[in-house]
């Protein structure tokens, strides 16, 4: 019983790594996802982009993480730290899902919005920047929050390449003390707390949409 608080704090010190991996992954995933979407919609290498997205969604994340950590160094000529390997692996994997979320957001907009911009002689750049994307971002926001939550839980895979995140620390405590229930419950509390926080912030941002209010 006297180890409960030290164990709880020890496991909790993995929160920072979990958050670094989650938000680093989401940042890279969002940028790469937008790039993939733009390339797909601009007609440049459309089938290749579709193939890349299919491959990223169709193979396990643990495989992609292993590839980047164990195989990529022989191609790149240098080894990434487990943190950067994790951020890139989660980011690249997430980009495929972000690209699909963006696709659904763009396709959910009425065709008339594109046509209205065209009839008003708005150029393609400004049409995407000021007419289409603001509406798409508002529409896909809930799906993006889901993606962040999914990625947060998937970051537990970092243990495979030595990262001491929440889950890995819980397993370490369990192995040291031959006691699984308490450390795993503690890890669950941390993950659930983080997910609830992300949901709370997401809902606050989602509600801030002045043009959706009938006033």
């Amino acid at each position: 019983m006297n180890k409960v608080i030290p164990n709880f704090l020890y496991i909790g010190s993995g929160v920072l790594l979990t958050l670094q991996l989650t938000f680093g992954g989401v940042f890279i995933g969002t940028i790469l996802g937008i790039v993939l979407s733009v390339l797909r919609y601009s007609g440049i290498a459309g089938p290749i982009i579709t193939g890349i997205i299919s491959l990223l969604r169709g193979t396990p994340l643990i495989l992609q993480l292993s590839f980047i950590y164990f195989i990529a160094p022989s191609i790149l000529g240098f080894r990434l730290s487990f943190l950067w390997a994790g951020i890139w692996a989660f980011g690249i994997n997430s980009s495929a899902y972000v690209a699909e979320i963006l696709r659904s957001g763009i396709e959910s907009l009425p065709k008339g919005q594109f046509e209205a911009a065209k009839t008003l002689e708005i150029t393609r750049f400004y049409m995407w920047k000021d007419i289409i994307l603001p509406q798409v971002i508002a529409n896909i926001f809930p799906a993006m929050v889901n993606e962040v939550i999914a990625l947060l839980k998937e970051t537990a895979l970092i243990a495979m390449i030595g990262g001491l995140d929440i889950m890995r620390r819980a397993q370490t405590v369990a192995a040291e003390q031959y006691e699984y229930l308490m450390p795993l419950c503690m890890a669950g509390v941390y993950y659930y707390g983080l997910v609830l926080s992300i949901e709370f912030v997401g809902k606050k941002i989602e509600k801030w949409k002045p043009y959706a209010k009938d006033s």
Partner: protein
């Protein structure tokens, strides 16, 4: 002002427009009548170049603007931003002028108090006026209106008749209005072209007929 010669348009081997030819003069109101699926909207979309036609030619002297059946206002912009966004992009030095012009048009159309509202807060009739104002601020020579009375009751339809007529007179805009509502078209147009199965069934001045609605119904 607008001359169309032998326009043909098909979608997947289905002929929608066949050999359509007509011309229109400045400041008139042309009604495009016909049952659903006869090609009215497609013809308007071809004139606006939202669709390309397969055959034929078109000569147009002037700016064309399109008012969509479902208005297609930009929901994340206020009424004023909906009006001024495109003109501001073209001439960034005249933002204040565009704002004043937009406010004046909105006032003219009876929705001056709605300038800072978002489209979601407007009624159907108010959205239509905003869509009309957004077209007018671009100083069009020809305004294409697709089914402007779709889903409206009789009294609101009469409001639309007087609104479009007053816009036609005040702004001197030539209009082509597509509608399946013969009663509405005969009240507003000085010329009606009735399309049937993608061809022109009749081209008539409704003011020259004793009973234009029944006359047109014969060709429906």
């Amino acid at each position: 002002m607008l001359k169309i010669y032998n326009i043909c348009k098909s979608f997947n081997d289905v002929k929608v427009l066949e050999d359509i030819s007509f011309d229109i003069k400045k400041s008139g109101i042309l009604g495009l009548a016909g049952p659903s699926g006869c090609g009215k909207s497609t013809l308007l979309r071809c004139i606006q170049k939202l669709e390309s036609f397969d055959k034929g030619t078109m000569e147009c002297n002037g700016r064309v603007c399109f008012m969509f059946q479902d208005f297609q206002l930009f929901p994340h912009m206020t009424v004023l931003q909906n009006l001024t966004y495109a003109p501001d992009l073209k001439d960034r030095d005249k933002k204040e002028e565009h704002k004043n012009q937009a406010e004046s048009i909105l006032k003219n159309l009876g929705i001056g108090s709605k300038a800072e509202k978002y489209p979601v807060a407007l009624s159907g009739g108010q959205k239509q006026r905003v869509a009309l104002a957004r077209s007018l601020i671009t100083n069009p020579d020809i305004l294409l209106c697709d089914e402007p009375t779709s889903g409206l009751d009789v009294s609101t339809t009469m409001d639309v008749v007087s609104l479009l007529k007053s816009v036609n007179e005040q702004f001197g805009v030539t209009m082509i209005i597509a509608s399946h509502d013969l009663d509405f078209l005969t009240k507003i147009s000085d010329r009606i072209i009735l399309l049937k199965n993608g061809t022109i069934a009749v081209d008539v001045d409704p003011r020259q007929c004793d009973d234009p609605v029944n006359y047109l119904k014969k060709y429906y």
